[in-house]
């Protein structure tokens, strides 16, 4: 069985996100970029399944400009067997992305597609669901446990009420949550090996994927800054001040 894992290049979680002064986007000048942390968890799970003999091959796929090859190489260094870059100059939104992943899924025929539950940049949490719908296959989202048994997978999901375990037929799309596993460190010699692993590039246009219907982003703005506080001497003064401001 093949496992397909989606990887997104995002601004690293340690970076303070800053909106460009003209509001045209987020400042990425000199900013550290990383693999989306949920995608790392997805890949870790795929690698563990392969190591447990449940899968033969792990393929990482990313959609984006050539800079995302850096993140694909990280995936290869972690242990993926090969990588596919779907080259797109435009930054894709979930529906277009799901369409692109569908084409790759049809081509590779994986038994399992594992994606992060969301990317930490736009927080959409839609791609896995849309891919499952377009592919006409079952979905199991927000997985915190994944057990494969023959043609089915038992997936424990993190839901509002607690944990829910469902069984899905394979092939299926699984999106993973934080508690599923802790991704491994990359071994230094594996970085060298990753340089020699295959990384195929396909153009988005060649796949015949339409990017129609993308939303236009009007403006970015940072959250309003918290105003400086004042010190009050006692409760009376606090109450008076709140009254003066018309808050009580």
């Amino acid at each position: 069985m093949k496992i397909l894992v989606g990887i997104k290049r995002v601004v690293d979680y340690n970076v303070r996100i800053r909106v460009l002064p003209d509001g045209s986007g987020v400042d990425t000048d000199g900013v550290k970029m990383s693999v989306n942390p949920f995608d790392e968890i997805a890949l870790e799970e795929a690698l563990r399944l392969r190591e447990a003999g449940k899968a033969e091959e792990v393929i990482v796929v990313s959609v984006g400009g050539d800079e995302c090859q850096q993140q694909l190489r990280t995936g290869l260094a972690m242990g993926a067997d090969r990588a596919i870059q779907v080259r797109s100059a435009e930054s894709l939104q979930p529906l277009s992305l799901a369409r692109a992943l569908l084409k790759i899924a049809e081509r590779e025929e994986p038994g399992l597609v594992i994606l992060g539950k969301q990317a930490i940049d736009d927080d959409n949490s839609q791609t896995a669901q849309m891919l499952a719908a377009l592919w006409h296959r079952p979905q199991a989202t927000f997985a915190s446990r994944l057990v494969l048994d023959g043609d089915t997978a038992a997936v424990t999901r993190e839901v509002d009420a607690g944990l829910e375990t469902i069984e899905v037929d394979l092939p299926a799309v699984v999106s993973v949550d934080l508690r599923l596993n802790e991704p491994r460190f990359v071994k230094l010699p594996d970085i060298m090996k990753a340089k020699r692993k295959p990384l195929d590039v396909v153009e988005l246009d060649e796949l015949g994927v339409s990017t129609e219907g993308q939303l236009a982003v009007g403006h970015h703005a940072p959250p309003p800054q918290r105003e400086k506080g004042i010190m009050v001497d006692d409760v009376t003064q606090l109450a008076q001040d709140l009254k003066n401001r018309g808050l009580i």
Binding site: N14, P21, G30, K32, E182, F185, V186, I191, M192
Partner: protein, 532 residues
């Protein structure tokens, strides 16, 4: 424990700063077949680099002719120089000494420039590994340096392996180059082991703190280089500030002060923040936004403190040895020259032997010799230092005397009988409010569940002698507030917030008992500086 995995290279370079990367590039230019690797503890190249920085471009011209066609991301020609002597409210323009004339130099982000140099090195097939800390030296059977050992990852705070445990590998190489920067973790051990400093004066340091700001449109004058001396420092504390005007309304502002300061209650971070509230600086920053902040120690000993830079199997280059030119306030060109020189030497001879003599005969050391008396001239106060600097400059360092350099850890006065100077400090309103707020802009990150990388060799001293003698200066000199004294059941205890550490090494240097030992944390930990 299983045998460590081994990788072999011809040359292993520790630290991807200007020295290490210049060395790697030059090695591959001269000997393309050499296998060269660079190990870097920061998660990305440049993420632990912090500098002003105004650089002299001559070594870049030598290393990468035509570099101006595709320059580093931030690279602004210097247009003007200003030096100001500040009082709390006033200022007086001083003549610019020749060492500080910056015509022909460039303002860069050294972090961004190192990332740019790393790309050049990778294009020459240098293997660069960010996110891995060289934690130990690997010695060969005959006692020579034979490479490095990468720190284990996934070790818990208790020292036990976690689920993610990954054993560090050994990198074997006939030549190891230490370019770790100031007070390098491995360099420090090797200097001690091979007694490389037995004929030199002790190294002396400064602490440099820096912030990157975006100011209101129109306030920044790209290419303007400003330096200040005087307030908020007293005349017996060496230091001053830099204000470099970049493009896109950005200002690099920083403050450097000698770690040979005497006042046990002095807080370098507070001095920096005070300087920002001088009317001249406050006007510039008001209404702006802080983008990034950080701190790093600086080697100030120069000529007198330069250790022997070679030993069996290894070389020490750049600020790990201490080649910064203090009066120029520049170390990058010196570090790069060191790297180039080391590469030339290895390409010609294949071994470290003879490098030290070659370095001492080079422009690197000639430059240091010329200005050797200027920094120690300030030991007796600002004005005597100023005068000495003028004399040394006029005579180009040709006077026969060489002043001794003193150590920083013995400079601190004991509380008993010491009266601190009146600092005339003002109320502050610019961000960051305090050191914790500042650390936030350094984006520093350490997995909390790892061994504490700040080792206290004699913890009893902290709660006994140090309390009465110095009132725990570590709680003040650390720019990231890593050290805190907390009350526990009525008695004081030292709490080390190691996750805040920005790897500046000040504690390792300034601690008066020399019982703080800075070791490398898990690779990839530490600050994530952007354009610093």
């Amino acid at each position: 424990m299983s045998e460590r995995e081994i990788m072999e290279y011809d040359v292993i370079i520790v630290g991807a700063g200007p020295a290490g990367l210049s060395c790697a590039i030059r090695l591959k230019q001269k000997k393309p077949d050499l296998m060269v690797a660079v190990i870097e503890k920061s998660s990305e190249i440049g993420a632990h680099i912090l500098s002003g920085a105004v650089i002299e471009p001559e070594p870049l011209d030598e290393l990468l002719p035509g570099w101006k066609d595709s320059p580093p991301p931030i690279c602004i020609p210097v247009e003007n120089d200003e030096i100001w002597l500040l009082s709390q409210q006033g200022r007086r323009r001083l003549p610019t000494p020749p060492q500080q004339k910056n015509h022909g130099n460039y303002i860069v982000s050294l972090g961004a420039m190192c990332a740019w140099l790393a790309e050049k090195a990778e294009a020459l097939e240098v293997d660069i590994f960010p996110g891995y800390a060289a934690s130990e030296i690997r010695f060969t059977e005959d006692g020579a340096v034979g490479g490095v050992i990468i720190g284990d990852m996934g070790v818990g705070r208790d020292g036990q392996p976690k689920d993610t445990y990954m054993q560090g590998i050994e990198i074997h190489a006939p030549v190891t180059i230490l370019s770790e920067g100031v007070r390098g973790h491995l360099s420090k051990q090797l200097i001690r082991k091979f007694e490389l400093d037995k004929e030199s004066d002790p190294q002396t340091y400064g602490i440099g703190m820096k912030e990157l700001w975006r100011v209101q449109p129109g306030k920044s004058k790209p290419g303007l280089v400003q330096h200040t001396a005087g307030w908020p420092l007293d005349s017996h504390t060496y230091g001053g500030s830099f204000i470099y005007h970049l493009d896109k309304d950005r200002i690099a502002i920083g403050f450097v002060c000698g770690l040979d300061y005497q006042d046990p209650e002095f807080v370098p971070f507070e001095a920096f923040q005070q300087m920002k509230h001088h009317p001249m600086v406050h006007e510039l920053l008001e209404g702006g936004e802080i983008l990034s902040s950080g701190a790093r120690a600086i080697a100030e000993g120069g000529y007198q403190s330069l250790p022997n830079t070679e030993m069996p199997g290894a070389l020490i280059i750049g600020d790990a040895a201490g080649t910064l030119n203090v009066p120029k306030i520049k170390g990058t060109h010196q570090a790069m020259r060191c790297g180039i020189l080391a590469a030339d030497h290895l390409a010609e001879t294949g071994a470290p032997q003879g490098f030290n003599a070659r370095l001492r005969d080079s422009d690197v050391v000639k430059e240091l010799h010329k200005v050797r008396n200027i920094r120690p001239g300030f030991y007796k106060g600002f004005w005597r230092g100023f005068l000495r600097a003028a004399i040394e400059t006029v005579t180009a360092g040709k006077l026969p005397t060489t002043l001794k350099v003193h150590a920083d850890d013995t400079a601190l006065k004991k509380l008993d009988g010491y009266t601190p100077p009146d600092r005339q400090w003002v109320d502050r309103d610019l961000v960051p409010r305090d050191r914790l707020a500042s650390v936030y802009f350094a984006a520093t990150e350490h997995d909390e569940d790892q061994p504490v990388h700040l080792q206290i060799l004699e913890p009893d001293v902290c709660t006994t002698r140090c309390v009465t003698e110095y009132n725990n200066p570590c709680t003040r000199f650390c720019p990231a507030q890593v050290y805190e004294m907390v009350e526990e059941n009525g008695s004081k205890a030292l709490q080390i917030n190691s996750a805040n550490c920005v790897h500046c090494k000040t504690c390792d240097i300034k601690d008066p008992y020399q019982i703080i030992n800075w070791v490398t944390p898990e690779g990839g930990s530490g600050p994530n500086y952007q354009n610093m």
